[in-house]
Structures are given as C-alpha cells and as structure tokens.
C-alpha cells in the first residue's frame, strides 16, 4: 500500500515476460511508454471472500487513447472498471488491495475525495439508465452537483453536450419530456452526454453497445473516436471487430489476470499466448 513504487513504474513496460517480446517485434507500438499514462494500476487485487477476482493487475492507461479490455465473461473486466471510479465501494464484500493512481494520486487513499474522483471518470454502462427526470435535467444533474446553477450556463451546456453526441436535433423539441421515452440508442447517447457534462478526463464504457442496434452502435463508436481528441477512453467489449475499429491499445484478461496487451495488430495478428489464440478463434 506504499506510495514508493509510483514513479519508478511509470516508464516500465507492463507484465514482465511479454513486454520484451512486444517492443522487440513492434518497436514503434508501445503506446503507453511514449507519453505519461493517465492511470497507473499497481499490484491491484480484488477479492470476494476466498475468490480472487483481480490478481496483481499492473497496467498503464495511455492518455488520449482508447484502451479496450477484452476477455471471456467473468474475467473481471467490469470489476476493474468499477474500481476505477470506486463504485466498488457499493459492494462491501469486495476487498481491494493495491493502488490506482490518477495524476499521481491514489484513488483508494482513505482521504481521497470520492466526488472529485468520480467526476474525473464518466461511466457508460451496458444498458442505458437515464435518471428519472427530463432529458434536460438528466444533463443538468451533473452540473447541479458541481454547483453550476446559473440558468444560462446550464442551458448552454445542455445544448453543447447534446450536440456533442449528435442528439440535439432529435430531442430539441422535447427537452422537458421524460428521458425514458427516448429509444434505447438515444438513451445511451444521452447517458454519454450526461457524463460529458461533468467534465471528466476519462470515459469508462462497459459493453456500451451491447443493448443497441447496429446503427446506434455505430453512432456510439464514431462518437468515441471523436472523443479521444479530448478524453481518454477505456472500453470493455465482447465484439472483436469493434475492438479492432476502436482500440489504440488492447488488454486481454483471463480469470482476473492480464495475459497480454498491445496494439490491435499485435493482439489480433500476432497473439503470443495460447489462451488469447483460443479466445480469438472461438470469438469471431
């Protein structure tokens, strides 16, 4: 739990054995070493009772890139995402050990301000969960929490973020209607806009398109590619093609461990471990 490992780890390639081979074969692809990572996960363990859900996770998330988490069901992807904004706190059964550093600060430090941490991360879940209020208020909600109550500012921001996700034209005439009346695809984009309004640095997306039709999925994907100009994204997906389209960096997990990571080319065309090869074959 000490802070001493922080700086030393910063430039270090991830996951021991695989690392050497990675940089050897593709010298220009080690994204996470080129600039300082926005998130550093160190010796991170999560346990529920006797089962270890995450085992010694050591991972750097590159800034301004899309990192995709891949892995079979139950390997701990969602758990990892939830730890990043401490939603893991909602489950007292989960025992967390290790560090996650954002801008050098430990997310799990006891004195850490939860609100600040969570506002740095926008969350997009598997299915959209609009707040039980109007479209307008869904977006104004985060602003209200941040203490922004000036009606004009709020109004401008609502419009801006709805435009950001391409929803403005579709909803501008029913801003004060209930958000639950939107289609699922629209709701998911609303949830994205709602997260953006808080001004996060990182967007966490847990299978964000799994409940959506192909067209809505594409819209979200396009949105992600645009968003990485200003944000860092971490996306969990089971759709390998989506991973290919989106990822700058891919992390493959299996039973709570990181087995392999690298660029899409490394992961899809030159997988090293047998587990990953099998996973890719059984996939798509």
């Amino acid at each position: 739990m000490s802070n001493s490992s922080t700086i030393i780890d910063q430039v270090q390639q991830v996951n021991g054995g695989e690392a050497g081979a990675t940089s050897g074969a593709f010298p220009n692809t080690s994204v996470q070493t080129s600039d300082s990572p926005i998130l550093q996960i160190r010796d991170f363990n999560v346990q529920a009772g006797d089962t270890r859900i995450l085992k010694d996770i050591h991972l750097d998330i590159p800034k301004g890139k899309i990192t995709v988490l891949l892995g079979p069901s139950g390997c701990g992807k969602t758990t990892l995402l939830k730890c990043l904004n401490r939603l893991s706190d909602l489950h007292p059964s989960l025992k967390v050990k290790g560090q996650i550093l954002i801008d050098g600060e430990d997310i799990f430090h006891p004195t850490q301000d939860l609100t600040t941490i969570r506002q740095k991360m926008g969350l997009l879940s598997q299915r959209p969960f609009p707040l039980p209020m109007s479209i307008y208020k869904n977006i104004a909600y985060g602003l209200k929490i941040k203490g922004i109550r000036d009606k004009k500012v709020v109004k401008e921001k609502v419009e801006k973020h709805l435009r950001d996700v391409g929803l403005w034209e579709e909803v501008k005439d029913r801003l004060h209607g209930p958000a639950a009346r939107l289609s699922i695809g629209q709701q998911q984009r609303l949830c994205l806009a709602r997260g953006l309004a808080v001004g996060p640095e990182i967007i966490l997306a847990d299978e964000p398109t799994s409940a959506l039709d192909p067209i809505s999925s594409r819209k979200i994907e396009e949105e992600f590619l645009r968003l990485k100009e200003d944000y860092t994204l971490i996306v969990v997906t089971h759709i390998l093609r989506q991973a290919k389209r989106l990822a700058d960096h891919i992390v493959f997990m299996y039973f709570g461990e990181i087995i392999e990571q690298g660029t899409p080319d490394e992961i899809f065309n030159h997988p090293k471990s047998d587990i990953l090869k099998q996973y890719l074959q059984s996939g798509h």
């Binding site: 939603l87 969570r118 506002q119 879940s125 707040l131 985060g142 808080v198």
Partner: protein, 301 residues
Amino acid sequence: MAALQRLILPAKLTDRLSTGWLNFAVLFLILLPLVIGAGLVIKSLPLLEQASIGTMLHSAEFSPQQGHFGFYAFIMGSVWVTLLSFVLSAPVCLLAAIYLTEYSPQWLTQSMYFVIDVLAGIPSVVYGVWGVLVIVPLLADYVAPALGLTTTGYCLLSGGIVLAIMAVPYMLNMLMEVFRSVPIELKEASLSLGATYWETIKWVVLKKGLTGIIAALSLGISKALGETIAVLMVVGNVAKVPKSVFDAAYPLPALIANNYGDMMSVPLYDSALMFAALLLFVIILVFNSITSFFLYRIKEQ
C-alpha cells in the same frame, strides 16, 4: 392434416375456456365494490328518504331516539384519527425504509423483515389491549399532565398511536420493496456523476420510487381508515367533534361495530348504521380515486 386438426382443436378450446374463466374472475372482482356499494345504498334508503344528506353531513347531533342523525362528529373522528396515525407513522416508515435498504448491514435488514412479519401477524384486538394497558395510562398519567392538560387517556391520540403502530408493518414492507426495486445501475449512474450517496437517494431513488411510495402510504391510510376494533378500544367513543388530540372521538367503524345488533327497535337506526358504512365506503373510494389520479399523473410525466 385431419389428425393435426384434431390435435389443435382441443388446445384451442381449452384456451378459449380458460380465458373465459379468467375474464369471469376479473369481472367478478371488478363488480365486487359495486355490489357492496349498491347493497349499502339500498339499506340506507329509508334514512335517506327521511333526512337530507346535507344536514346529516353537517350536523354533529346524533340522537336516534329524537330522530336526529348527524354524522359530522363521526366523519371528523375517522378523518382525524387517520391523519394522526399517518403523521405519526409515514415519516418514520419512510426514513426507516431508506435506512434499511440503503445503509444498514444485511443482518439488520433481515431481522427487520422478521419483525415486520410478526407485527403484521398480531391480531388487531391485541393491539387494542396493548393500547388500553400502555398507551392510555401513559397519556393520562404522564404526557397530558406534563403539558398541563387532563385527559382520560381514551382519546384521539391513543387511537392515532395504536393505528400508527398497526400501519407500520404494511407501509414499511411495501416501502422497502419499492426501494429495493430501484436498479443499482441507476444509483451507480448518479454516483458516477459525483453525487453523494444521500444526494442520490434524495434526487434519484426517491424520484424513481415515487409512485411506489405513494401507493405504500395510501395503503397505510386505507388500513387506518378501516381499522375498527383496536381504535374502538382506546379512542373513547364519544360522539362529539374532537377539539384536541386529548379529546375522545368516535370514528365511523367504531360506531358501526359498537351498535350494530343493539337498539334495532329505534326507528331508522339500522338504516343509519348502513349509512355510516356507506360514508366510510365513499371516503375510501374518493381517497383511492385521488391517489390513483396522482399516480396516473406521475406516470404520464
């Protein structure tokens, strides 16, 4: 082909038959209140022919021997004792339900479910006896003197307290169900926007559960309006409009239960009791219509 049809036809037939039965059952249940209401109206007709509804509702003078049938005191007795029990129980139940579903450790919630089941299973006459033995002397000997007042203890407040306690298991159980049914992902969404847990409950959970909360609270009120025996034992049963919570009152159900079968020789007396029942029925009907309307409005939003 023919064999196939023979196989299908019986299936269709049973299908028809069973939907027929289902429709009949539903129709029967829908008609039930109408049947009860109609019965009450017919039985109160003799009184309605003699006295005007206006005077019966406004006058507080109830002396059947003299032919005065004023129900105002009884209506007020019912309304006040119900309101009082609501004011005493609803806030406590609401806060307890929030605490038990959102904050408390698992074992406490589980033991609370046990307590709820026990409370709901106790017959109302036991609540009444307990009220007579505990609440009535408590109010008469300690609470009222401390406030510089006198009371026999058989009063509105005793009725309100006993009713409040009786309503707790029903309201609490339903409210806890309401809060538990709010999806955790919704809370996560609010928390991930930086809201504190309390803000999340205040702005999201309560809002999401609003229809359920209203339904739960109105169930509590309906229970209180109709409860008879326990109230009757502690509320004093004096046909006067109560002026304070330490005054005795006489709610409608108590009037009916105390007098039905007695004094039937007095002209129009049984009809008057039926009219009291009709009043109670109408109050409950109006009350439920109002809550249904609110629920509808909320769902429309």
